[in-house]
Symmetry: C2
């Protein structure tokens, strides 16, 4: 195995796969990065027990040579130090030579590193997925859908399937749902899918999606998504992402989403966010992180929070209120996270009662919603 590679291209690829590399693991070889060079370029693979990322540095990009291959081959290098080395090498290109014992030399200008590599045959194979359940969507849309739902998954491993985001497809419409049973976020979008593709219970671990969001950060084109019994694969430019799926049946959440409200409120998203953020300063020191809203007259939402030890906060936010005057108490942190996931300037909130869930929606679209279960207070 012998080749020369552009250092900047290598640095970028290593930083992508490093997101999947285990720091600690029961499978020692997974602390490494697998590198394979062939006629197409350099392939790097990083993996932990849940997800696998493979990145390709193609031989040419925009007609510029990035990899010059002399001899093809593979090796596994210790992940953390390999990543540190390529970042700190001095030159614009790296000469990379591996011998039969996987001893690896990385040379760049006056600096030369020698690393003990491992046998690539011992590195786990990539999952092989049949591509019969597949759909496509823009990378930016997938990133939005992840960002607007992922925060609502349960963080308690005891809740199993709720630590993931439910993916459903029906009639070309993709739906993401996440809930920890105290709040729920849902996002829908049309995707390019075969008309007869129907998916009901694919649950992707929240942590995998959070990594996927990061590695898609610079992707602008479309991505393909392939689903199998226990894996999801996302394929973008020079990038493959695999995650295992969660076992178990995701609960039916459609019934908990109310269709109409007793009181409807229209508010400016940013103003409301700042006001909840301030009230949360007090509620964080109190019990349960609770703040209280009172809808007053036709144009005011009063935001209030009090903590016995610290003090209290009171402020009014301008709004359009339709329906009954009412008060409701809820977790300020849930509201903050929901509001931060909204990209629209205005939001609509539908209250159904003091003790029943309420729904937050961007005022200008119906494909996204956040539901919060109120808290009973004295």
């Amino acid at each position: 195995m012998k080749f020369r590679i552009s250092r900047s291209a290598l640095v970028e690829a290593v930083s992508q796969v490093s997101k999947a590399v285990s720091q600690k693991t029961t499978v020692p070889i997974l602390t490494g990065v697998k590198a394979s060079v062939d006629e197409d370029g350099l392939w790097l693979t990083g993996s932990n027990s849940d997800l696998t990322i493979q990145v390709c540095v193609p031989v040419k990009k925009d007609d510029k040579e990035q990899v010059k291959v002399e001899t093809i081959g593979s090796v596994v290098l210790p992940g953390r130090i390999f990543s540190d080395i390529v970042r700190k090498l001095p030159g614009k290109s790296v000469d990379w030579v591996v011998d039969e014992q996987w001893k690896t030399i990385l040379r760049s200008e006056q600096a030369q590193f020698e690393l003990k590599g491992l046998d690539p045959e011992e590195y786990p194979r990539l999952p092989q997925l049949r591509e019969d359940r597949m759909f496509s969507l823009p990378a930016d849309l997938l990133k939005s859908m992840i960002r607007q739902t992922g925060f609502a998954v349960s963080t308690s491993e005891a809740r199993g399937v709720l630590t993931g985001v439910l993916w459903q497809i029906s009639s070309g419409k993709l739906t993401f749902v996440a809930t920890d049973s105290h709040r729920l976020s849902r996002r829908q979008a049309d995707v390019e899918a075969p008309e007869d593709l129907s998916v009901e219970n694919v649950v992707v671990p929240g942590k995998s999606l959070s990594e996927l969001g990061k590695i898609l950060a610079d992707q602008t084109g479309w991505v393909d998504v392939v689903l199998s019994e226990n894996q999801v694969m996302v394929r973008a430019d020079n990038l493959l992402f695999f995650s295992r799926l969660l076992d178990g049946t995701y609960p039916d959440t459609n019934r908990v989403i109310p269709n109409s409200g007793k009181t409807e409120v229209l508010l400016n998203t940013k103003e409301l966010l700042q006001s909840v953020d301030r009230a949360a300063l007090i509620s964080r020191d109190g019990q349960d992180n609770v703040i209280k809203w009172t809808m007053k007259g036709e144009d005011t939402v009063q935001v209030h929070s009090a903590s016995q030890d610290v003090g209290s906060v009171l402020e009014e936010v301008g709004a359009q209120v339709n329906g009954e005057e009412m008060s409701i108490s809820f977790n300020a942190q849930f509201m903050l996270e929901a509001l931060r996931a909204v990209d629209s300037d205005e939001i609509q909130i539908h209250f159904t009662g003091t003790m029943t869930p309420f729904v937050i929606q961007p005022a200008d679209r119906e494909d996204a919603l956040h539901l919060i279960v109120p808290i009973r207070t004295r």
Copy 2:
């Protein structure tokens, strides 16, 4: 107590004193910030058992009114939440009212916070220092002296006095010395001091100096330094900083600094820094963080490090070498920290032998030096 204050000025002052406020403490009132308003402006004080910071927001700054006082008075507010609140208040000014029970109202535009304050009489008084041992220097110089020595203090509380930086004054020259007994850093500068001022054993805790460096970040003028038996006070524009001193006698370090070298090497600081940084990638995984230098011929320093488990690195750095060829091993981290403290483009290193300390100095000045004790290797 009743006044109105510019919120931006308040935010800045609070962020300064917050650096001294205890998160946990055996003296509960020290988790608070003391606020006192009088004809001069608002005074904020934060403290922990080691250091105290007092900041003034003067009534006027550059002819612009910052504080409008109606009634003078004092109160102690819970530090962390008070700091969060002022940062997140919506308006350009804050109305601040405290009643007889120290209940405090902070109002800014539509937002109103009510906080439980504490009796300011219970807050510790500032130390009263006689100003007979005093000197002055530019804030920038003091910051440099801290940055170029503070990193070398011992982090082991067992070493008592070595966790601080020694301050000495003689004939108008201020000297800072820090050592953990494996390396030493020294910086000297002329300051404005009475000719007969002689200081031999003032030791300031390294942690206090690190905070002082931060709060002086934006200061550009001169600062006064006042020394007492057990406190140092630094006075800058609208700012007072107090730190307790460490007990004990600092060891005499002059004897350990060699005066001449067997081998002298002149190197480019940045090139060398990058090379040591790379070598440290390997040494960090090995024993003792050791790298080895070999001075070869008249123009080369060979940098080498090897770790049995990971691999090795070898590179050559251009240099001007005068004297005997030799090899020496030392702690890479100590060298990195010393090199990062050097502002000059070139450095001179004086080696006295394989097992005796060597000295790193900026090539263009003699007021700063770093000494490193080599490590015996197999």
